[in-house]
Amino acid sequence: MARMKFLCDADRCIECNACVTACKNEHEVPWGINRRRVVTINDGLPGERSVSMACMHCTDAPCAAVCPVDCFYTTEDAVVLHSKDTCIGCGYCFYACPFGAPQYPRVGNFGTRGKMDKCTYCAGGPEADMTEAEYVKYGSNRLAEGKLPLCAEMCSTKSLLAGDGDIIADIYRERVVTRGYGSGAWGWRSAYGETVSV
């Protein structure tokens, strides 16, 4: 099976936020929740770069390590998913995540956060694939349809890459060699314990 990863080629990202919008629309994500976001580093300065970031579907996911109810699981494609039925909204995964991926419908005191929501790599949840129950809780399941995550699929500059880690790393490596520069595979070291060496 493939080892699915995201890779954002920041030298191509134009901060159009279409990935964010596509994600929200595809999964009908509630107001206030952003499964994906674009962060601009050194905004307004020479050499600023924008990076599209969501759950990176880590190797040895720290969210899964701290979850008191063990609601996370890793699929055969190495996608990190969770069960909203088991989630108690404690917020631990947010503090464990290196990417700020876990989102909550409410940001309140007394742990009134509600069930955690995060990027599913367009792979749904524990419910049966492509069912109404799955769609309501986790959004659409494109992976089950044989498609890759929408954010990467519709990225206008093909900055955001999704797919098998080895393949997207090769694509990125080729780009860096061809154009002669690259700001790095953002987040890979924190997520996968390795980076794309060129």
Binding site: T40, G47, A65, V69
Partner: protein, 342 residues
């Protein structure tokens, strides 16, 4: 061809030639000078500048400041601590204490009243004192069990009850934990006010401790006042540990007060470790106050203890109480009588 199209062609050619004249030297210059990534920010450089504890910060267009942190490598450190050492400390503290107590019970057995139960009983704790104790006790037990569920539930309860039941249990447990904390804090304050005067360490405690509290040898009963050194130890453990748990607990409940993610994570680790230690101490306290010692439970149960029990375990306190009542007045009015008006 009209004169106009001819003219426009001429203009276009002229313009093109002009553009080429301007652009050509610039293009050759550009290859020498401009490197599009010379000042580009790289992940490597940002990560190196982090010094381990901060985050790669940027700007987001969505109205949520929390999401402006791009990469927070330190969060994995907290995850490793919580999933590793904090769990281990909890395991050692709780299981270790239970093992110790079982061993103690096997060797020493139940500590009996050496001179046998008497027919007389004396008042040890008033109703208000017992209320403070039980308010704290009940809330602490709920807090400890729901807290331990967060640490060990996924390993112990989940395989037995299954995902649905365990999820429901934990969700209710979380609500109970979040609200019972305030009942515990009230009990903590009340017990502190009621008992602080009786819990100042003194010379009697040194002697009591040197005799091991008489816990390990049958028939040995070092003198003690209302609270012996062991009980003072419980008092101060609960007071200080409880204060630490209350403070960190409030910080966890109100994340904005905790001073960012690093602050919250620090309070969470302190909360988990102090809770483990205090739970172990309280397990020992529950043991000695119930199955471990004959007559001990009555003090917090009915509030009246067997006189022989009191003489054995709190000899100085019995002298004090009985001395007052033998001054000629009864218990209640003894106190004002012993205090001169001036």
């Amino acid at each position: 061809m009209t004169i106009f199209t001819k003219m426009s062609r001429v203009i276009a050619v002229l313009a093109l030639g002009l553009f080429a004249m301007i652009a050509q030297p610039q293009a050759s210059q550009a290859q020498d000078i401009i490197n599009p990534t010379a000042e580009s920010v790289t992940e490597d450089a940002l990560m190196e500048a982090l010094n381990g504890d901060a985050q790669v910060q940027g700007r987001v267009s969505i109205p949520d400041d929390l999401s402006s942190g791009l990469i927070k490598p330190a969060n994995r450190g907290w995850a490793d601590t919580h999933g590793g050492p904090v769990r281990t400390v909890n395991l050692i503290a709780v299981v270790g204490m239970i093992v110790l107590l079982v061993a103690f019970y096997a060797i020493r057995g139940k500590i009996r009243i050496d001179s046998g139960p008497s027919s007389e009983r004396i008042q040890r704790f008033s109703a208000t004192e017992r209320f403070a104790h039980w308010l704290m006790a009940v809330s602490f037990i709920v807090l400890a069990l729901t807290g331990l569920n967060l640490v060990f539930g996924r390993a112990v309860i989940l395989p037995v009850f299954g995902e649905d039941a365990f999820g429901t249990l934990s969700a209710w447990g979380k609500i109970a934990h979040n609200y019972m904390g305030f009942a515990f804090m009230l009990g903590l304050i009340l017990s502190f006010v009621y008992w602080i005067a009786h819990n100042i360490p003194d010379k009697v405690d040194m002697h009591w401790l040197s005799k091991g509290g008489g816990l390990f040898v049958k028939g040995v009963h070092p003198p003690a006042k209302k609270f012996n050194a062991g009980q003072k130890g419980i008092f101060w453990s609960v007071t200080l540990g409880g204060a630490a748990l209350s403070f960190t607990g409030v910080m966890l409940l109100f994340p904005e007060l905790a001073g960012g993610e690093a602050g919250w994570q620090l309070y969470q680790v302190i909360h988990g470790v102090v809770a483990a230690i205090l739970t172990a101490i309280v397990i020992a306290h529950i043991y000695i106050g119930s199955v471990g010692m004959e007559g001990a439970y009555d003090a917090m149960g009915s509030g009246e203890v067997d006189l022989n029990w009191a003489k054995e375990h709190h000899s100085l306190w019995v002298e004090e109480v009985q001395g007052k009542s033998s001054d000629g007045t009864d218990d209640g009015s003894a106190r004002p009588g012993t205090q001169p008006a001036e």
